[in-house]
Amino acid sequence: MATKTNDYKSESIFQRRVRNFKKIKRAYYSLIIIVSLYLLSFLAPLLVNNKALAVHYNGSTYFPAIGDLFWESIPVQYHDASFFGQTAQGEANYRELKKQYAQENKGNWVVMPFYPYSPNEVLLGEVSQPPTKPDNKHWFGTDNRGRDVLARVVYGFQISITFALLLTFFSYLLGTIIGACLGYFGGKLDIFGMRFIEVFAFVPVMFLIMILSSFMKPSIIKLVALLTIFGGWISITYFIRGEYLREKSKEYTAAAIAMGASDFSIMFKHILPNALTPIITFAPFSIISNITALLSLDFLGFGLRPPTPSWGELINQGMGEDISFWWLIVTPLVMMFFTLLTITFIGEGVRQAFDPREYARLQ
């Protein structure tokens, strides 16, 4: 029907959907923004940190901040205050060091990151009576222990997204495997499996996590594991099982059996790519709900162990008898609002691009 030119390029359904997605500008740019912000957040130790990027002292140059990159996977360069000629105890205070070197004028110098405060650095020596209001030094003020709010919010962003991505990934993995087995093999496995899931779905996840976390001291891995096992995978299982029930009756499955393909190859090579559409469309919304889950747990104090920088914990601090510490609430809320908005835009676009439903209607 259609006239095809010679440079006609073949594309898979997935490629076509990606192309459709790119056409939806709002979603596409949202994706670019959130991905680049997330990637940028891994460089946060070079942008928001109280350690110096570079210190030149007595003819040699040191790079203390590098060590914080990638969760300190690069060997930490810890320098005592006395190492750089400071009089104080403990780790060097590079902001002070910079002032000191400038005064001494001996050819030593310090390059500080763009925003020279760390999320867990207690600034009791510098601020009086925390929490303090936003000023030109601490753009979004400090919290009740005298830690810089901006630094905490930036690191909190990375932790929130990482947590949500991990949780989504593992829920999807578990849900897909279980759903695929139930849907493909059917029969007794399906009947008993589904009954078990229905009972399991009634476990009150949040309460359970609160009880467990009161004596477990949850880390990000533990929390992801708990939430995966007790919640995330169930809805994915329903989706995938339904898709498998439908796809396994299609003739391409019969064709694969007739050519002698194994169950494993039919389940994961043939059917799986055809069964993914609903859960791909669901993924951005799943990430959103995971971000909010972490936020609520942190808010209630059952989330990640302090002093992990977290949005929920900041809001909790701000919710005193009155809201005179408004910056503790507004800053993380605004951050969360923009994160969730961007991801919602992405979700909308993904749904439009992946859902082959006709949006025009007959009149």
């Binding site: 073949s10 003739e251 391409y252 064709a255 694969a256 050519m259 002698g260 393909a261 006709e358 007959l362």
Partner: protein
């Protein structure tokens, strides 16, 4: 008969804006519809026949569709001529279902499954006419009576899934007739039905038309059906009308090579052919894209490929002398329908009920019967794609049901199946190349994927497709092309035995002929043994050496294809044969004569 103009389509242009550019589905089409006549519109899929009628109802999804120009003038007996394209949507609704109504191809999906059949007809009546609910019900029952539904009261209260396909199509017709429309558009109304049911529906439509005096636009890809119903015929090709005239003229003396191709490509019942003539035998395109006529007459084309009866009996003799390659012994496949409290099955559907036959190497056995007769289940049971309840299938001395997993996998190399639906039998996420090399990978044939892809390219050439299609995806091909790809995939393992399960039923007649020719060609080349399953007796007869007629899970009749056709023993077989629309000139003359007598 005085001809009174009812609908004029003038220079209609309907375009679709698709991802691959502008598609001119209907390109400057003009035709007239007169009062009381049946206008047959024929052409292959994509020729624009449906779109031109849907444009008249303004049922084109916009976007991507667009009626880019033209007029559709309806001559309202009260208000005079009206251009339907210029009406507002609200005004258009008064015409839809009321003056112009429509029946669709799929009775399964065009009735709403959550309402009773009666309610759906009552709704249409009440939508367009101010009558009480009771009166609407009485009218509905009368309509059901009129479309010859058995027990109208029961059908009135029945839900669509409780009816057979033919009954549903009758309900659809009743619904379309509810407001005594002056035009009825029938879009392939019998394509999804068995031939026997098709025959009764066509008779019904002919009767109703004479009683009510409405005009019918009948859309189909099958000239045989046209011969049974139409007064005048439009032949459409690539969005344009290539030929129009009275049904007698068209069948007597077709002018356009495309029409000739359509007429010749239906498998004829009387003769035995070595291959079917196809449209491309009659017409082609030169380098400039102009049409070239090749063969001029349908008779010449048929004569060139006819096989003499002596040749046929020689082939049958030589097949007969061999030991059978496949034996089916007392095969039963039952599906449980009811179980008691303890899970014991209390009631069965006997899909295949005690069937025995055997096939010689190189032979083609045709399996024919109406839908639900168990022919597909039989094919699948033989391949162990459906569980057998009892009986034996012996292939090459080995009992297939007793094979363990490894032996079964090895056995699958020899036995392949080609399915009915070319749209669902290819995995939409795999490229054609991956799909074809997959069986080779599973059975570890050839050393690496590079060699396998070379073999896949060869296979594509074998099924007359271009080898550079290897990297494309199924959705980029038409139905006929996909069926070729499925055949290539089945050939990859170099099987000896192939089951074709309604492999051409989803295709247009013109494409069907091409695929049938390919299957015959492959049989000659590789000495395949086929089981050819179809509901269409003419196709089965064309393909097979022997024919098995199935009914309700049992074998009704079995014998040489020509014998079964020429000398059917069972009533059921006779009924099947009588239902085939053959498109014979005498039949049309008889029908038109009857019509003329009726008019006088």
């Amino acid at each position: 008969m005085k001809k009174e103009l009812l609908l004029q389509v003038k220079n209609l242009k309907t375009y679709f804006h698709t991802e691959s550019g502008l598609v001119k589905a209907v390109d400057d089409v003009s035709f007239d519809l007169y009062k009381g006549e049946t206008l047959g519109i024929v052409g292959e899929s994509g020729s624009g026949k449906s779109v031109s009628c849907l444009s008249a109802m303004r049922l084109i999804p916009m976007p991507p569709g667009e009626i880019a120009g033209g007029e559709i003038i309806y001559h309202d007996p009260e208000k005079g001529p009206i251009d339907l394209l210029k009406l507002s949507i609200d005004d258009m609704r008064k015409y839809r279902g009321n003056k112009i109504s429509m029946i669709f191809q799929e009775p399964m999906t065009s009735l709403n499954p959550v309402f009773t059949c009666g309610y759906q007809v009552v709704e249409v009546i009440q939508l367009h006419q101010k009558v009480s609910a009771e009166e609407a019900k009485q009218r509905t029952l009368a309509l059901f009576e009129e479309v010859k539904l058995p027990n109208p009261q029961r059908i009135f209260d029945a839900y669509p899934h409780q009816l057979s396909g033919g009954q549903k199509q009758r309900v659809m017709i009743a619904m379309a007739m509810a407001c005594k429309p002056s035009i009825l558009i029938a879009d392939e109304p019998t394509t999804a039905l068995d031939v026997t049911v098709q025959k009764t529906i066509l008779e019904l439509m002919n009767d109703l038309r004479h009683e009510v005096g409405m005009s019918v636009m009948f859309i189909t890809h099958d000239l045989g059906v046209i011969a049974e119903v139409a007064d005048r015929v439009l032949v459409m090709y690539k969005g344009k009308i290539v030929e129009q005239g009275s049904v007698l003229d068209i069948f007597n003396n077709p002018q356009h090579p495309y029409t000739k191709g359509l007429m010749a490509c239906r498998p004829p019942l009387g003769k035995r052919l070595s291959k079917l003539p196809v449209v491309s035998d009659f017409m082609g395109f030169d380098a400039q894209g102009n049409m070239v006529t090749k063969i001029n007459s349908v008779e010449d084309a048929l004569k060139a490929v006819e096989i003499s009866p002596e040749e046929t009996s020689r082939r049958l003799m030589s097949l007969e002398q061999q030991a059978p390659i496949l034996q089916v012994q007392n095969l039963k496949t039952y599906f449980p329908t009811e179980k008691n409290f303890f899970g014991k099955v209390t009631s069965w559907v006997k899909a295949v009920d005690d069937v025995s036959f055997d096939i010689k190497p190189g032979e083609t056995l045709g399996l024919v019967g109406e839908s639900g007769c168990g022919k597909t289940t039989l094919g699948r049971t033989i391949l162990r794609l459906a569980p057998a309840t009892e009986g034996k299938v012996i292939y090459d001395g080995k009992s297939i049901f007793d094979l363990d997993k490894q032996a079964l996998k090895a056995m699958r190399r020899n036995m392949q199946i080609i399915f009915q639906d070319p749209y669902s039998s290819l995995n939409p996420r795999m490229t054609i190349g991956d799909a074809i090399i997959e069986p080779l990978k599973i059975h570890n044939i050839l050393a690496n994927d590079k060699q396998r892809l070379e073999k896949a390219a060869d296979l594509l050439t074998t099924v007359s497709m271009s080898p550079d299609h290897l990297n494309r995806y199924p959705h980029e091909f038409s139905g006929g092309q996909r069926q070729r790809i499925c055949i290539a995939r089945a050939l990859a393992l170099e099987p000896k035995f192939i089951i074709c399960d309604e492999s051409v039923s989803a295709l247009d007649v013109s494409v069907q002929a091409q695929v049938l020719n390919l299957l015959i060609e492959l049989r000659q080349k590789y000495q395949f043994t086929y089981i050819f399953i179809s509901h269409d007796l003419s196709v089965v007869k064309f393909m097979s050496d022997r024919m098995v007629v199935m009914n309700k899970g049992k074998i009704e009749e079995m014998g040489y294809a020509d014998d079964v056709y020429n000398n059917p023993q069972q009533e059921y077989t006779k009924k099947l044969i009588a239902a085939i629309p053959e498109g014979r000139l005498e039949d049309i003359q008889k029908r038109m004569g009857r019509l003329g007598a009726g008019a006088n």
